[in-house]
Amino acid sequence: MSKKEKVLDKKSKKAIEDIAMNGSINNSRKLNFDTSWQYAPAPESTDHFKLKKKYDLFINGKFVKPTDGKYYKTINPATTETLAEIAYGTDKDVDKAVKAARKAYNEVWSKLPRKEIAKYIYRIARLLQERSREFAVVETLNGGKPIRESRDIDIPLAAAHFFYNAGWADKLHYAFPGKSPQPLGVAGQVIPWNFPLLMAAWKIAPALATGNTVVIKPAETTPLTALLLAEVIQEAGLPDGVVNIVTGFGDTGAAIVNHPDVNKVAFTGSTKVGKIIQKALAGTEKKYTLELGGKAANIIFEDAPIDQAIEGVINGIFFNQGHVCCAGSRLLVQESVFKTVIKKLQDRIENLIVGDPMDKNTDIGAINSKMQLDKIKEYYEIGKSEGASSFQSSCNLPKKGFFFRPTLFWDVAQSHRVVQEEIFGPVLTIQTFRTVQEAIDKANNTAYGLSGGVWTDKGSKIFNVVNKIRAGVLWANTYNKFDPTSPFGGYKESGLGREGGLHGLTPYLKM
């Protein structure tokens, strides 16, 4: 940047600031949230269950050793301690699993009366609820998410997906009147590490309800709750081979996707891997759904209920450490309320408790893996070098484990990498806009189109804006609300197909 440009830049920055100046906010007035009264540690107990030392593959209703005899360690990202050893499944194991699933489909599952299928799924849902505390604790230990979230959101929602889909199992003819919905056969599913059990439920429940059998691979860093789910499936008495769980790495997932006897592929994960899968499946008869990345715009108009919008923005980006594909990671704020919003966001962030995920008061837990933490740190540096202003909370981070402070970036432009690329961490970029059209244009100006949010007191504005944003899910005056009855999925590079609701059944059926 030349000297002249620099001066101009400074000037224009100042000018923008003056325009955006909401005269009422004075930055010298600071609230002190480092209060002398603090919450004492409130750790959730772990003595009500015991993890096994070693977990095998779940194939044909039994836990079996991997063919190559290889295991890898799964850790607690908050402490980096090893939790258990996990079987590393190869293509041979995947082949065994697919064969078991095919056999179960041909001989048992496809011949069962539909209402019997429903019974099994209901049973899984109820067993999940019964063991919800154990599931929540293991989810938090293995994934790093705060116990408050796994307890209040992940596990109840996973059970809800089984309940909801169980209801459809014997009513498919009513779901698609005039058609003859038939299962596809064997569904191969690959799921991510951000919502390990919930994603498993999201995939397995509709597959079973539509009469398919399943081979699923949990993410390598977070296999434990899927393996506990295998125990639940055993306990529920599902016929052998109806659900097979093969743990492992990327090559294990690739083996599932590429297996010739898989009829349908469901993948949730990065856009990069999604593209590879789409290429691999081109020209095959396999049906597939891809639920990929996002870079959602959360738009605050000046007439919004600001204090509640702040809470929604916080929830939108810092839920699950920002490891959420539909996270509201780009905040667009109308100029006249920009300063107020920045100030209030900073105050709110200072109140977020970052640390031990097992503490009931923790708001932001551990970053899922070292790899992800490095990626977030890299983006933080990129943001700084691109010239963004930033704010991070002043909290202390634990010495061990993978943690990152909640971060705000502003003075960013549409061309900045931190605005364009999915960071998948607790990092929010903030831009301003003047007109409604500008907000819509900026919201749509990304390769993704998974979700978005609109904050305004005007109902007409809500309908106007949400109809012009190309994203699969749009929330108005709220964010990150999920329900099994509601379809979820993306436009553009955020994927294709819908999961959840009635729409979520169709990818598993031929009609």
């Binding site: 007035r29 007439d303 929604g312």
Partner: protein, 308 residues
């Protein structure tokens, strides 16, 4: 500018009539606040703090001098056995008991608050409200808890409400003014926010939810909205306004949730009885019971706590 120069009313035009509050969003924020787990040392500390924030209140038609005396003694020494337990912040009585309470509390540091302006309805001519307040101030009240004219507010005569508060503030002199919005009659959170803004701009030192005579009295959504109004006012003017939820807070756990709200909305500077009060009577014994349980490991029967 008032004649004695004590108080300059702020400009009515500073009140922003366009602030909107989303009830569902308030609920979301509260869900997080309510999920805070307060245990052990943190719980004891908060309980002691809460006792010290109470305006111990008796506002009955049948109040007697003996009752007021008993209230004062309880306020100064909430529990006979434990000396570390602080006094309450104030006692709150009708104006005719101010002189008595003042005498009883002499030297204790416990303030006397008087309800005023034709409490609880506020339906009286301005001249009578002024007289009412003057009487209490002359009798030595440290704090005046006035009510706003909800009838006027609800029919949109905001100027009237603003002027009424500003006028009473003038009459208060050195006494602190708490403005009761009677949120149970204001219907929406938007109105609660507007009434808070008007009261603060007109000179309130404290804003207070309720008289305790109308249901619902203090609720968490209303209190959160008022705390956020106080925060905004502080950002804008640098003035710190106090908050007093009154009526309906009976449980120890609820009291702690209110403190969490204060901690996470306004922070350290407000976590003391200069800026936060509970208007309550039965809450005191509930807090004491929890405190004694923390000290001894056992719950004591209610008979072991003096009624006020």
């Amino acid at each position: 500018m008032s004649k004695n120069g004590i108080y300059t009313p702020l400009d009515f035009k500073n009140v922003d009539f366009n602030v909107s509050i989303d009830e569902v969003g308030v609920g979301d924020r509260l869900a997080r606040i309510k999920s805070r787990s307060i245990k052990k040392a943190s719980k004891v500390e908060a309980t002691l703090m809460a006792i010290n924030m109470i305006d111990l209140t008796t506002l009955e038609g049948m109040d007697s001098p003996a009752k007021v005396r008993q209230l004062c003694s309880k306020a100064m020494r909430p529990h006979e056995e434990y000396e570390n337990i602080p006094s309450t912040a104030a006692v709150c009585v009708y104006p005719n008991y101010v002189a008595l309470a003042k005498k009883e509390l002499k030297g204790s540091g416990v303030n006397v608050a008087a309800v005023s302006t034709a409490f609880p309805s506020g339906n009286a001519p301005m001249s009578i409200k002024i007289e009412d307040t003057k009487f209490a101030v002359d009798a030595g009240a440290d704090e005046i808890d006035m009510v706003i004219s909800r009838g006027k507010f609800l029919c949109g005569e905001y100027n009237f409400v603003f002027d009424e508060i500003a006028k009473i503030k003038e009459v208060c002199g050195k006494a602190h003014l708490k403005v009761i919005l009677e949120t149970g009659e204001l219907e929406t959170l938007d109105k609660v926010r507007l009434a808070s803004d008007i009261a603060m701009e007109a000179g309130a030192d404290f804003i207070k939810t309720s008289t305790g005579k109308i249901q619902p009295a203090a609720t968490m959504p209303v209190t959160l909205v008022m705390l956020e109004a106080i925060r905004e006012f502080y950002y804008r003017t640098g003035k710190m306004i106090g908050m007093k939820p009154a009526g309906g807070i009976k449980q120890h756990k609820d009291a702690l949730k209110y403190l969490v709200m204060v901690k996470e909305t306004l922070g350290e500077a407000w976590l003391n009885n200069k800026y936060f009060r509970f208007g309550a009577s039965s809450l005191a014994n509930e807090l004491l019971m929890q405190l004694v349980k923390e000290y001894t490991g056992n719950y004591q029967a209610p008979e072991y706590f003096s009624i006020d």
